[in-house]
Symmetry: C2
Subunit: 328 residues, 2 copies
């Protein structure tokens, strides 16, 4: 019998990210020391061994040697061709039941391509979707999916993302019967673009609690539990939230709203550093994508998220849930 | 010789908007009294006369009778079929050289359809684009185009919007050689969706100062003078800016950042009430679309913007500028 992935270590792509392996390795060690997450580091053995020694953490993380690295600029076929990369080695560990979840701060495109190739999609999903939980003004969170995995989805894929997002809200955020809104430009009939008009028809017939259309100002208002959109719009919106929150607080601080530290607290809520990673859903395994600019603390949080997603058996539960529903 | 549109009154659709004719009429009267804008009100004569009397403003605005109204839910063919509507009457006044610019807080879709039918597009533009100037943290403004007029543009139309936005930045904001950024998800080659990948190729060869790709967090940062995108993404982003700024300030206030009035000042910068209207560019005449929820002060500001755009001869200058450039 295959080992239960819930008890397996988290595999970390030690070579991904803008700040180099030192930052990632420090994050992985922090995940173990502060949160008890067992990790395997995939990357160049000489680099990893010397970094672990420098941190006084020899033996605290397993090392899986990978001689090659996928550069941040490489995606798709180019990334897949690098069979000796830290990404390929990491996914091989998941495939062989050695690792239970995967964390990378490398190129999202390369992670998506490798995840689909090595883990495979959970039927009946035809493309993966990236889910991010954004804090709302009401104190809860709204799941935004797809935040950047699939650029030109079909209307049918939008429905799959909606189902994946609803599963995530139920299983990770603990929301019973989550409501789902379709991101568009107004609820009057015929509004929206070709993709959303067709997706709206399909969502009305899908096995989920469809709220209807939501707009750009609903993203942080807690109107719905899940907001579904294509990966292009989702990624633009995710980054626009970060930028708009930062701009508002900068302008407020400049006008002398008195407590800069309180303003920084709010900015941190929407900082990519804070999310701790987005879950790539629709695969047979657990994959968390951290922002390229992640520092050690963020990598540690991403490891905790990955461990918790794997422990909750989220990938399997999403797969099971989608399998019993008729494909849209 | 036709009268110079720069000296003509602004025609206001008195029947559009969420708050009814009283609010619009009050705004038009305010535009005249506070800013010296001559206005013609298009709408039901009985309603307009009694509202003007109530405001003690009889004779301060001309009235053009229109027996019909386009409901907010009606767009495209339905809106065009209402030949006796306040929209149709207003555009007729512009067409006959009686009015020099047009302001409406009615359905954007209906305004766009009627504007294209009655005014016509400025060659070589094939669809109009909605331009909004958003204040940036640096103290300037970035023009977002298209903020919601054209849902599924071709890559060629994106280039036209870029040229229109650059003309607007030059002529209205006074920016010499404005830089233009294409809204997408990252600058690595091959990133983006089908539309932006092709649009990026065309923009690199277009007669404008193309900065390259910008992302969601650049919208308020002042990275470029003009951000070009499709009308769906632009409208989602415009509303997401409003919502994210509001959310950030709500959360800051709740954490006791001390000066609520300073926070409200910032919120007002991005309130749809404040923009005073978006310019619908690419037409042979001047059209300003105000938010449906506009109150009197916003309508007055929209009238001033329309008068200034018409006085500057912006529509004609945009048309002349595009005519001498090879169509992309």
């Amino acid at each position: 019998m295959a080992p239960d992935p819930r008890d397996l270590p988290v595999v970390v792509d030690a070579m991904g990210g803008d700040h180099g392996p030192a930052e990632i390795i420090q994050g992985a060690v922090l995940a173990r020391r502060a949160h008890g997450v067992e990790v395997i580091l995939a990357g160049r053995r000489d680099v990893l061994d010397s970094e672990l020694a420098r941190l006084g953490a020899r033996g605290e993380a397993e090392v899986a040697h990978a001689g090659d690295v996928v550069p941040m600029t490489e995606r798709g076929a180019g990334a897949l061709a690098r069979t000796g990369s830290s990404l390929a080695v990491a996914f091989d560990l998941l495939g062989r039941g050695v690792g239970g979840a995967f964390v990378s701060a490398g190129s999202t495109g390369a992670v998506v391509a490798n995840a689909v190739r090595h883990l495979g999609l959970a039927a009946p999903v035809s493309r993966p979707g990236l889910a991010v939980a954004l804090p709302t003004t009401g104190g809860g969170a709204t799941v935004l999916i797809d935040a950047g995995a699939t650029m030109d989805p079909t209307p049918e894929m939008i429905v799959q993302f909606a189902l994946l997002g609803a599963c995530y809200a139920e299983l990770v955020l603990g929301v019973a019967e989550p409501s789902v809104g379709l991101l568009s430009i107004g609820s009057e009939p015929g509004k929206g673009n070709r993709l959303t008009r067709r997706a709206e028809e399909l969502l009305r017939r899908a096995p989920l609690r469809f709220h209807g259309v939501v707009e750009g100002h609903d993203v942080l208002s807690g109107t719905v539990d899940v907001i579904v959109t294509d990966g292009f719009t989702g990624n633009v919106v995710l980054k626009n939230v970060e930028g708009s929150v930062r701009a508002a607080l900068t302008l407020a601080a400049r006008r002398g709203a008195a407590e800069p530290e309180r303003l920084r607290e709010v900015a941190r809520l929407y900082d990519p550093e804070t999310h701790g990673g987005a879950a790539l859903l629709g695969l047979t395994g657990t994959v968390v994508v951290a922002h390229g600019s992640s520092r050690a603390a963020t990598i540690a949080r991403a490891c905790v998220v990955a461990r918790d997603l794997a422990r909750g058996g989220v990938a399997a539960r999403v797969r099971d849930r989608l399998a019993v529903r008729p494909a849209p």
